[in-house]
């Protein structure tokens, strides 16, 4: 059991860190299983003979819940499954229409199993954990699009540019209302130009000529590969930091919000997360210039990724980081202007407008209800921005004074998720890849707590007669 894990733990030495994770100061041994402190009674229980069958049972539970959701969703005609072409019609005979209660019970059961796996995870063989992560991804990827219509917007913007010769940063999908993808685009976004970075919009262009169904499958594969790639980068980063990589990998790769909402919804946040973690890993490998370039690439997919960069720069204080940033920015700017003209930056104003929306799941909205108010007003939004700015400034100062820049980046992303009035499930996941490898363990607890609160907020239909 543990032998298979030992084989995957770095036997060689690797640069590790003293103090903040921004300071690679010498050759220190990477994580070795044998160097762990003597196991306590609690540790012995968590890795004892009962832990393995328990962990396997939890994994089977997660696979079962995911399979149930995907099979039932493949029947379509459900509020949880957006209007879409029947790309997973081959599964329809195996499922029945997915209603809210079935979905919520499966999601809660999956979350409980996830918590169980995390508790006894250290007893699980590496191959089983990796196999479970890959299997969950494959199950979700084999099914229909879940819970979101965003992927149709991605394809619509690509088709605007390629098939209709329109600039997706100046036109919404409604500009090509006769296009085959248009009926599937969310009503709110039909007149909205692209809110994504120019790199993502450009990278999605090759899928446009493939037709709608083939485009969806390509997008699914990209999302799945990005998610698994992020998990792999978390593994590598944890090893680089001299930690047992199994728990971080498991915490990220099996997370129900990641599997069902992020991968199931085929969100480009997964691609952003991949570039973000690529930047983190490259920086930990002391390849600062490339690390900064990867973060810029992530920001050119989705602007949120840029949050990591100031913390990286302040902590590392290296010229190569600045040069990597400048070169990457220049390269993306040149390509973007060549393809989209000066409108490539218009997505910033779209994002600003989007931030004025209010989603029912956003924490500010819930807090407003708690205090008897109808919802969030512009003055509240201004106060939230000030609070977010203060948090970011405090964290920047802390990083300047030696605090772990990975933790600080994670706290800032978490603060954005908590203070935004437009919170979606996949925003809650932004922090997780950083939280699982961060030096400050409070970040991991806070991230998991926010995820749990988000799931808890979905449960009202369980208690209602509707």
């Amino acid at each position: 059991m543990s032998q298979s894990r030992n084989l995957n733990v770095a036997p060689a030495t690797a640069p590790s860190q003293s103090g903040g994770s921004g300071a690679i100061t010498g050759e220190l041994p990477a994580y070795r299983r044998s160097e762990r402190a003597p196991e306590s009674r609690r540790d012995r229980w968590l890795t004892g003979s009962a832990a393995l069958p328990l962990g396997l049972a939890f994994l089977v539970g997660m696979v079962g819940c995911t399979t149930l959701i995907v099979l039932d969703a493949s029947v379509l005609r459900s509020g949880i499954v957006p209007h879409q072409p029947s790309i997973a019609g081959y599964l329809q005979a195996l499922g029945s229409r997915l209603d809210f209660k079935t979905f919520l019970i499966a999601l809660l059961a999956m979350t409980a199993c996830y918590a169980g796996v995390v508790v006894v995870g250290r007893a699980l063989p590496l191959r089983v954990v990796v196999g479970a992560i890959v299997l969950l991804h494959l199950i979700v990827l084999a099914g229909p699009i879940l819970l979101s219509q965003d992927v149709f917007s991605y394809i619509a913007y690509a088709r605007l540019g390629v098939e209709h010769g329109l600039n997706p940063f100046t036109h919404g999908p409604a500009a090509a209302a006769h296009d085959s993808v248009f009926p599937y685009v969310g009503i709110v976004w039909r007149h909205t130009p692209a809110a994504y970075g120019p790199l993502w919009t450009l990278a999605s262009y090759p899928v446009a000529p493939l037709g709608l169904e083939a485009s969806l499958w390509v997008m699914k594969v990209v999302a799945g590969a990005a998610s698994l790639g992020t998990v792999w980068l978390v593994w590598r980063s944890a090893r680089r930091l001299g930690r047992d990589p199994l728990l971080p990998t498991l915490l990220l790769g099996l997370n129900p919000l990641l599997i069902i909402y992020d991968v199931g919804g085929v969100h480009n946040d997964l691609v952003m997360g991949f570039f973000m973690m690529l930047g983190v890993w490259l920086t930990l490998e002391a390849r600062d210039g490339l690390g900064a370039a990867a973060v810029i690439a992530g920001a050119a997919v989705k602007a949120t990724c840029a949050v990591v960069l100031p913390f990286m720069l302040l902590s590392r204080r290296r010229l190569s980081l600045i040069s990597g940033t400048v070169i990457a920015l220049a390269a993306i700017a040149v390509v973007s202007v060549a393809v989209f003209g000066t409108h490539a930056l218009d997505f910033v104003s779209v994002l600003r407008r989007q931030q004025s929306f209010v989603s029912t799941d956003s924490f500010p909205n819930e807090v407003a209800h708690l205090f008897g108010r109808a919802g969030v007003f512009p003055v509240d939004r201004a106060l939230l921005r000030v609070a977010l700015g203060l948090v970011a400034a405090y964290l920047l100062f802390r990083v300047w004074r030696g605090y772990d820049w990975i933790s600080a980046s994670g706290w800032t992303l978490l603060a954005i998720a908590v203070t935004t009035t437009w919170l979606l499930a996949w925003y809650v996941i932004w922090t997780l890849p950083l939280a699982v490898i961060a030096r400050d363990r409070r970040l991991l607890w806070a991230t998991l707590a926010v995820g749990a609160l988000f799931i808890a907020h979905q449960t009202s239909p369980l208690f209602s007669p509707l």
């Binding site: 010229l319 819930e366 907020h457 208690f463 509707l466």
Partner: protein, 157 residues
């Protein structure tokens, strides 16, 4: 090694950049940060629980609203739309009163939702299509009439 330009090293000690945090845990700072995090966590948890309870209450109310509308119109349809209010318990339930109706009957429902039916404080008629806004309402009665929710009085269209 992290390179720190020499000019930065001349900053006062409390402001100078550091490669790692000062040795020894800063217990006071951690305590303050921890207290802030716990306070925020409790606030968010309370808000989530309150919102779930509120939503469940609204959902329960909607069921009674629909039952009241069906009882009043003697027309048992499922597509009764209910407009709920988050700040008080005044709801508006609307639907066509019979299969061939060219208008919708909207009822203003007030009072508790613990009984079989809610109290009907009034209502108005509304075209089959179009938003429930003042300009589209007519034949107000009860509270809506006193509150001038209709722009005019007219015959049934």
């Amino acid at each position: 090694m992290t390179s720190v330009p020499s000019t930065l090293q001349r900053l006062p000690p409390w402001l100078a950049p550091r490669d790692s945090e000062a040795p020894g845990p800063d217990r006071r700072r951690r305590l303050i940060e921890g207290a802030v995090l716990v306070a925020i966590g409790l606030l968010l948890a309370a808000a989530v629980i309150r919102d779930v309870v509120r939503q469940v209450g609204v959902d329960d109310r909607v069921v009674v609203d629909k039952r009241t509308w069906v009882h009043y119109t003697h027309h048992n349809i499922k597509l009764v739309s209910v407009l709920t209010n988050t700040r008080n318990n005044i709801d508006f339930a609307c639907g066509p009163p019979h299969a061939h109706a060219t208008y919708r009957v909207c009822l203003m429902l007030t009072g508790g939702s613990h009984g079989t039916y809610r109290h009907i404080s009034g209502g108005y008629r509304l075209g089959l299509t179009g938003f429930d806004v003042r300009a589209n309402r007519y034949d107000c009665f009860g509270l809506p009439r006193h509150q001038h929710l209709c722009p005019r009085r007219g015959v049934v269209r």
